[in-house]
Each structure stands twice: as structure tokens, then as C-alpha cells.
């Protein structure tokens, strides 16, 4: 029960009433309150418009001005099948579409299905870009490039299909590398060999993850919103806090994979091609970023091979 002995600001009490009426769908007028409480007129006139504004900007349930992905959700929520493909789960989404893991039933294989959201079709340029991306990717044949199986449209939804590759998201890989670098910088000098070996094998695991991430690389499609990194299908990608993220893969002489990744290589104009290169992307160096410093000796005492493009 409200305690009437509490001295509330009288304008605040009126404001609460005013706002409650407004929320019930009434359209209370400022003037009504001004007439009724002339001694508070100045505050009412001064503050109530701000109240209305605050109420107006409160997003509503199902508000279309919500997150981009919510808008997409609204149209794609019930996606269970597209042609021959049975949708298993969503893997990630970005400005140019949503990627699903799906089963191609006729062939019984797992695929990654990238679907262009309905509303993006409103802009025919997007559709063109989508097809160009699929075609460009289909022309490429390389161990490190995910093969394109097909492109199509079903029920007004445009999609293209690529091999499904297990791996971890680039964001996880980056976090992993960051963590490793920290561990390494702490232990560089005095670490016993056994521990170094452990770290190294962990890096190799991570290497597999990066390779997988590379294989599933998305081509082009700078995210319109930058709001979300796909969870598992991530190639060179736009990261909300890191900028454009490019990854390259190198091998050291012992044959174990060395990963060098540049967390913030800015790739202006890199919209139509992938950055799947064998060399370190050229760009500004950010020594404070996650890449493990390769200047230290490895567990076997060898110096690591210099990155091919080191300048």
C-alpha cells in the first residue's frame, strides 16, 4: 500500500499518473493538468513533453525498430526446409544473410546454407551481390576454400549452399589466441619444456580451428549492421570491436601449423573477394593485439620461420 505520509514531489506524482494514463491508451492533455494544478503549471509545461518523449522511445514488444536480427527473425523464424535442404540449426547471421546447418536429403550430406533475408531483396542490388558472391566462390577451387554446391531460390528465399565444415568461430579463435599470448608472455623465459609443449599442442588445436574458420570463410558481404558475428562460419569478417579481421596461415619448418592473425587489418574495398591468402595481410601492426609473438624460441629450440610477407 502506498504510504501517504511519504513526501513525494507533487510534480512527480502527477507525472506518474499522467504517464500511466498515457500507457493505458488515454491521451491526457498537458492543458488538463495545467488547468487543474495552476501552481505547478510551469513544471508541467516544462517537463511533461520530456515524459512523452521518454515514453515514445521505449521500444515496444515486437517493435520493428528493434535489433536487425529481430527483424530478420520475424520473417525467418519458421524456416524448416528449403527445397532439398532440411534446416538443422542456425549457425550465424550477418548483414547479408543467415547461415544454417542443413541436410541435403537427396544426397544425405551436411551443408552450410546461406539464406538472404527476405527484406534484403527489396534492394535488387543485394540480390545481385548475393549471386555474384556465390558465382565468385563457385569459380574458386582450393583446399582452403569451401566448395560451393549450388545456388537457388525457394519460396522467395534466395540461398546458396556450401560444404559444411566443423570449426570454431573466429571470435573464439581470437579469444583463444589472446589468452595464449598472455600465457606465453608470462612464461617465455622460465617455462619448463614440458609446459611449453603443452602450450604448443594447444596452439595446434587452435590452428585446426582457424583453418576451419578459413575454410568456411564468407566472401565479401561487408556486414550492413556489424551487429553480429556468425558463431561458426567466419572468415575474414567485420568484428564490432576489432574492425576487419583477416587471418592467414603459415607453416613453420617443423610442419606444424603456425597461425598468424591480424586482428585489425583494415581492408578497404574488400567487398568482393576473400582474403584467403597464404601470407600475412599487410596492414597496420597492432602489437597489443592477440597474435602470439613469434620472436621467442619454440619448444624445440628452433626459431620460427619468418612470415612470408614480413617486411
Amino acid at each position: 500500500m502506498p504510504d501517504s505520509s511519504e513526501a513525494r514531489d507533487p510534480v512527480e506524482a502527477l507525472a506518474e499518473e499522467f504517464v500511466n494514463r498515457h500507457r493505458r491508451g488515454e491521451k491526457p492533455l498537458l492543458q488538463e493538468y495545467i488547468d487543474k494544478y495552476p501552481h505547478l503549471a510551469e513544471d508541467i509545461r516544462d517537463l511533461f513533453p520530456a515524459l512523452l518523449k521518454m515514453e515514445k522511445v521505449r521500444p515496444q514488444t515486437g517493435d520493428v525498430t528493434g535489433e536487425f536480427t529481430d527483424a530478420v527473425n520475424a520473417t525467418e523464424k519458421k524456416l524448416e526446409r528449403l527445397g532439398d535442404y532440411r534446416i538443422l540449426r542456425e549457425l550465424g547471421r550477418g548483414g547479408m544473410g543467415i547461415v544454417y546447418e542443413a541436410e541435403q536429403e537427396s544426397l544425405g550430406r551436411h551443408v552450410a546454407l546461406k539464406v538472404l533475408p527476405h527484406h534484403a531483396l527489396l534492394d535488387s542490388k543485394h540480390l545481385q551481390r548475393f549471386h555474384r558472391e556465390a558465382k565468385a566462390a563457385a569459380r574458386l577451387h582450393h583446399t582452403n576454400i569451401v566448395p560451393v554446391y549450388g545456388v537457388g531460390a525457394d519460396d522467395g528465399l534466395h540461398y546458396y549452399v556450401r560444404q559444411f565444415i566443423h570449426g570454431m568461430g573466429l571470435d573464439e579463435v581470437l579469444a583463444d589466441l589472446k589468452r595464449l599470448r598472455k600465457a606465453r608472455s608470462k612464461t617465455d623465459v622460465t617455462l619448463p619444456n614440458r609446459k611449453l609443449t603443452a602450450i604448443k599442442s594447444e596452439e595446434n588445436l587452435t590452428a585446426a580451428g582457424v583453418a576451419a574458420a578459413l575454410l568456411t570463410g564468407e566472401f565479401g558481404s561487408r556486414s550492413m549492421d556489424g551487429a553480429r558475428l556468425p558463431d561458426t562460419l567466419t572468415g575474414p569478417a567485420f568484428h564490432p570491436t576489432e574492425g576487419w579481421v583477416g587471418v592467414s596461415r603459415e607453416s613453420d619448418s617443423s610442419g606444424s601449423a603456425l597461425i598468424s592473425a591480424d586482428s585489425s587489418v583494415h581492408l578497404p574495398g574488400q567487398t568482393g573477394t576473400s582474403t584467403l591468402t597464404e601470407t600475412r595481410p599487410r596492414g597496420r601492426e597492432h602489437p597489443d593485439r592477440f597474435i602470439p609473438d613469434r620472436s621467442g624460441p619454440l619448444a624445440d629450440g628452433k626459431q620460427p620461420a619468418a612470415p612470408a610477407s614480413a617486411v
Partner: protein
């Protein structure tokens, strides 16, 4: 709001006696509101990574576990208790995902949940919206949301918080006082102070406070 404002005591009594149907009915009532609170307070970087429903799911597990204990000695109204547990889960979720970089989820308020528009937020928002017919109206709204969001973020945390509680979580003065652990009179005064500051910022944007009445 009508279902929410109905007296929950009968359902609560049944839920406390182990009636799971009653509990689920009770929780369903508040689901949208709690979901909205989570959305409002979810760190920008977790958008899209964390589904508000997951946070609420975790909260509900704990709520069903602790309900008997709560009912023995309710220290706050039921909704505020739900809100409290949900808040705890949200903090845990932030900690899990953001680790050391974590900011208190209470420190940020996001009204507009897309990428922050840069040069021309109206066109960008229009771009992001699915429905052409309402696009321009919604775009203007998005623009306003961005402006209010910026204004809010320039306020002192306590001012921001109290405005968020009153307007976005739609709590009453009494509930706000309980959530903040202060007297109703203090909550009332702080809200007015925050509102005046907010108004001062918004009034500096030409034409912003007109045409809404």
C-alpha cells in the same frame, strides 16, 4: 499489462504448494516484461550472441527452486523478486561472455538495438527495417531513440538508471524505491532531478520536444 497487474497471490499460493501449472502460468505473465528488461540491459557486444530467452530460462529454473523459500518470507513484491533473479542471471551471463572487460549491465541502456547509425541514421534504419510501409516512420523513431540513448548515456549513472526504471521498465515510484533500496520520497526527488537533466539535454536539440503531445 492487465494480466500482470491482476493479483498473483492465489497463483503464488498454489505454486508454492508445488502446483507446477500455477507456477508456469505465473511466470508466463511476466515473461515479456522480463525479456524486455534483459534486452534493455544486454551489453551491445552480446547482442545476437545471447538470447534473452536463455537468460530468462536460467532465471526461471532458479525461481522455481527458490520459490518456497521466497514465500516463507517475501522481502519484496513478486515481480521485483523475479526481476532481481533475472538481473543476477544477466550479470552472470555478462561475466561469462565478457570476463574481465565486463561492465555492470546496469551501466548501459540500449533503446536502439541496431548498429549505431553513423552519418545518416535515418537512412540506415530504413535500410534495416523489414517493412517498407512503416519504414520511414520507424526510421524517425529509431533516430529519436538514438538521440535519447545518447542523452541518457551522458547522464550520471543514477539518473540514467532511475529514468530507465521508470520509463523503460515501467516501474512505479514505489517499485523504483524498492529496487534502489531508498525511500519513496528520495526516489521521487531523484527521478525529478534526472528528468530535469534529461529535459535540459533534449531541449537543446532543436524541435525535439515538440509535436509529441
Amino acid at each position: 499489462m492487465t494480466a500482470e497487474t491482476a493479483d498473483p497471490s492465489e497463483l503464488l499460493r498454489r505454486a508454492g504448494a508445488g502446483d507446477s501449472q500455477a507456477l508456469s502460468e505465473l511466470l508466463t505473465r511476466y515473461r515479456d516484461r522480463l525479456r524486455w528488461i534483459v534486452r534493455l540491459r544486454l551489453n551491445r557486444r552480446l547482442q545476437g550472441r545471447v538470447d534473452p530467452s536463455d537468460v530468462i530460462q536460467e532465471a526461471y529454473l532458479e525461481i522455481s527452486k527458490n520459490l518456497p523459500e521466497y514465500l516463507r518470507d517475501p522481502k519484496m513484491p513478486f515481480f521485483l523478486w523475479l526481476r532481481y533473479i533475472t538481473g543476477q542471471k544477466l550479470i552472470a551471463m555478462h561475466r561469462r561472455h565478457l570476463g574481465a572487460q565486463m561492465r555492470d549491465p546496469d551501466q548501459e541502456v540500449s533503446l536502439y538495438r541496431g548498429a549505431l547509425p553513423e552519418a545518416n541514421s535515418v537512412s540506415l534504419a530504413a535500410h534495416l527495417l523489414g517493412h517498407l510501409t512503416s519504414a520511414s516512420r520507424a526510421a524517425i523513431r529509431a533516430e529519436e531513440q538514438v538521440q535519447v540513448q545518447e542523452a541518457l548515456n551522458s547522464l550520471e549513472p543514477i539518473d540514467r538508471e532511475i529514468l530507465a526504471l521508470r520509463h523503460f521498465e515501467m516501474l512505479s515510484n514505489e517499485e523504483t524505491a524498492q529496487v534502489l533500496g531508498i525511500k519513496k520520497s528520495a526516489a521521487s526527488n531523484r527521478y525529478m532531478r534526472a528528468l530535469r537533466r534529461m529535459k535540459g539535454i533534449l531541449a537543446a536539440i532543436p524541435g525535439f520536444l515538440e509535436n509529441d503531445a
